[in-house]
Each structure stands twice: as C-alpha cells, then as structure tokens.
Symmetry: C2
Subunit: 276 residues, 2 copies
C-alpha cells in the first residue's frame, strides 16, 4: 500500500478502534456526529493525502484534504488527524519517517503553507483556543482574513505551530519531531492482538500520559487533568475502559486531540508493518 493508502486506512482504523473513551468509535456515536461520517471524511480526504505524498505545498495538501473531508454532514471529523497525517505522509513518501525527518519536513514549510492552513478553517468549525494576546489578528477563526497578517509577519506554518505548541498537542507534535506519535507507534508494534485493540490501548496510554488539549478548551485544564487520571486508572484494561467510555459520552467529555494522535500513531504503525 502507498503512504496515502496507509493514511486513509489509519483514519478509518482510528474511528474503528474501541473503546476510546469520549470519542466516536465502532460502538458509539455522538448525537451530532456519526461513525459513518468519519468513513466519508477518510475517503474524502484522499486527494489531499495524495498531494501530501507528492510534491505539492504541505499547506495546499492539508487544505485539499480538509475540503474533501468536509463533504459529509457531520462537520469536523478529522481536521486534527489530517494536520498530523499530512507531514507524516510527506516524510514517509520521501523515506524520512523518523523524528529527524519530520523536523526536516515541518522546518521546510513556508508562509504559503501557513496561508493554506488558515484557509482550511473556512471549511469546518474547529474548536480552538483564543489567540495569544499580542496577536489577535492571527486568530485561526478568521480563516483567509488572517492571511495578510501572516504575510506581514512572515510566519511559516512551522512558526504558526510553534505559537500554539504550549496549549495544543497537535502543534506540539509539529514542533517536537512527532515524538509522542513515534513512541506510541512503537508500543503498538510491540503489542499483540487485533490492531484496533492495540490502538484503543494506545489511545488510553496517550490520554493518561498528558491531558487532552481539546478537553482543556471545552472544560478547563483541571478537568482535562482529571480525565487523564481516569484514563490512567483503566490503562491496559479495555473492559474497564468501556465503562469510562459510556460515562465520558454522557458527560460530553471528548478527548479529540488524543484521537488525532491515535490516527497518526496508526499511520506510523501501518508504515512499519503492523498486521491488519
């Protein structure tokens, strides 16, 4: 399979893996977001993933992927997943799928890539934190309207990610050579059983090891820390995690950034030969 194939399959395996407490998975829908909308999001993102595997600008590939993903009625299914997958696909397609390789890929991004990233926010509503006080003009929710400010400041996509790295786990991967993703993929490869069980355990590990930044945006940092402690308590125990999954669903706790990291983990594991 090609890297674009693996990325698309990773998107479907992420949502198929269960239980992933608080997220849509094979056994749970949200009221406003259904399992099959993630399947459509995965298939729709394909042209963007193919651009990522080629030599298009990384931002253009991401924007195209998000545009395709948004062709279903659930809204934002996989924006964060794609933000991680696009550089990973580029690295894999150019034989650089390692932390150093990812630093090369992200370090080579341009202001045009940043502009395309901002444009991608026009396609779906994405839950984000407020912009830094000193840069209200860079609020991603402004979409394309923020592009002149980006150009004035000469910010590349890597620079934009750097600005969010302290409060967004996906941005932190961009600036950190995807260290958490590579570590999680190693654990998946060392694990056994069906790949979807391995990914569900990887999700619990990721959530236990660091608070989910989407939960922090939605419910505050204290609650996000508590959620991670609850994940830690059921780590490695998918039966116990079932109960937690039902409760998080009732309470509206959605660790979506950890799901993004899980999709990226699935991609690296597939590239490295995890059996399906």
């Amino acid at each position: 399979m090609s890297s674009a194939d693996h990325a698309e399959l990773a998107l479907t395996l992420e949502v198929a893996s269960t239980p992933k407490p608080g997220n849509v998975d094979r056994h749970r829908d949200h009221d406003d977001l259904r399992f099959e909308q993630f399947l459509a999001g995965a298939v729709g993102s394909r042209p963007g993933l193919e651009l990522a595997a080629g030599d298009a600008g990384l931002g253009d590939a991401f924007e195209r992927a998000v545009r395709g993903m948004s062709q279903q009625s659930g809204g934002n299914t996989q924006f964060g997943c794609l933000l991680l997958l696009v550089p990973l696909v580029r690295a894999a397609a150019t034989d650089r799928l390692s932390p150093d390789g990812l630093r090369d890929v992200t370090g080579a991004t341009t202001v045009d890539d940043a502009a395309a990233f901002y444009r991608a926010f026009e396609y779906v509503d994405v839950a984000v934190d407020d912009p830094p006080d000193e840069a209200p003009d860079l609020d991603v929710r402004r979409g394309a309207d923020a592009v002149p400010a980006l150009r004035d400041r000469g910010l590349t996509l890597a620079d934009v990610m750097e600005m969010s790295a302290d409060h967004d786990a996906n941005a932190a991967e961009w600036t950190g050579g995807f260290g958490r993703v590579f570590d999680a993929a190693d654990r998946v490869l060392d694990d056994d059983g069906p790949v979807t069980d391995r990914l569900a355990r990887a999700f619990l590990d990721l959530l236990a090891e660091r608070p989910d930044t989407l939960v922090a945006i939605d419910h505050g940092t204290d609650r996000a820390r508590a959620v991670s402690r609850e994940a830690d308590a059921v780590r490695g125990d998918l039966d116990a995690a079932e109960t937690l999954a039902d409760r998080f669903l009732d309470e509206g706790i959605n660790p979506g950034t950890t799901a993004d990291l899980t999709a990226a983990t699935a991609f690296v594991a597939l590239e490295r030969g995890v059996p399906v």
Copy 2:
C-alpha cells in the same frame, strides 16, 4: 466525490451497516474475519476501482481491485462486492448508471476480461458452486489454468456470468442490468434516517426477497430459503433483526451474496445523492 470514491465508501458503509444478520458488521466480527479487514480491503481495492473509472479493461480493473483487497490477513473480504462495483463504476464514470447502461457495459466485455476474472481467483479463496457438468475445465477454482479453455471457447466475461446466473445472485445482476441493485437503491433513497440504517433495512429486504446464493452453497437451497423467510419476518424492524444476527452468527449462516448486493446498492445510492 468521484465514482471511485463512492465505490470505496460504499464498501466501508456496507460493513458499517448493522444489523446485517450473518455478516460481519459494525457490531459483529466472525472468528476468522474482522471488521477492520474490510476497511483495509476497501482501501486496498482503490487502484482497481480507479482503473474501472478509467478506460482499462473491466477484467483488469477487477483483478487489480481483488489483488489490492487481498492485502490484509482476513482473506476474501469483498470479492463479490467488487464484481458488482467494477461495472457500476464504469457505468457511472461514463454517465450510464442505469439498467440499460449496465447492459451496455457488461455486453462489451471480452475474452480478455474473462481471463482476468479467472486470474483474480488466484488471490483469495472464494466460495463457489461446482462448474456445469459439461464444462469442468471452466471451474473458476482453476484460476489462470482455466484461461486456455476460455480462449478455446471464445467466452467473454458476460458469457461466463451468464453460465452462473441461475445459481449466483451476483452473476444474475450482471445478466439482468443490475435490476435488484437499482430497485434497492431506490428504496434506500426513499427511506430516511442514517444511511447505515437504510442499508441494513435494504439488506433485510434483499435477503427476504430471494435466497442468498452463498448460504445455498454452504448449507443447501432449503436452508437458504428458510433464511430468507426468517429475514422476511423481521423486515423493517432492526431491533428484531439484532436477535436474528446473533443467531445466524452462532449457526454459521453467512448471507454474503446479499452483502455484496448491499454494497452495490450503497454505491448507486451515493451516486444519486443519499446523504452521509
């Protein structure tokens, strides 16, 4: 989305639709065949589906799709689905997605297409009936070894399907302008609710209206007729169908040909705008 996108999505929606009594679905695995292997089969079949949307030979497109589908460890996930989807994709991509259009597409197949169809049996084990007494040399289980016999007799892929139409529901669609598939897609479009619920109801209707030919191969025609009567009894009632699904799973009843028809139905419904 392109026709290849719709075909790939149709493969994933088919397996996501639940309950589909006796088949792998969102809530049920078989001991030797898991949900995520269908996801991998769908992604893997993509290059073949793209050939079907282009101008490759229909047999070559099918063989490529099956080869890609087989890149997972579950074995035969979607051979029959692809046999239906390949001509449907060709018809959609050439603006002929109608019974007459499908008759044109299948009627234009050649001996080379038949040879590629036979070669596709080399990639996975497919449950099939015995060949006709007068043509043991045309047993599909011979794979490429049967190709000289095909060429001697000058049989096109449409001719091969004609020979099986009385005992294989997929072959019957090939020779009948995909009439059952188009009818089922009309019902899906007229139905309401999530697309996966509509497809589960379509599956029950298809199973109720005619015995499943894979069940007939595995368990005999009497049992296949009884299975259809049981499906008829729960038609339109997905809660009642849950109980039937658990029982068929226990009894090893696998109406796989009806699942193939359901995937084809999903494709036509997607092409005609069913919402996801």
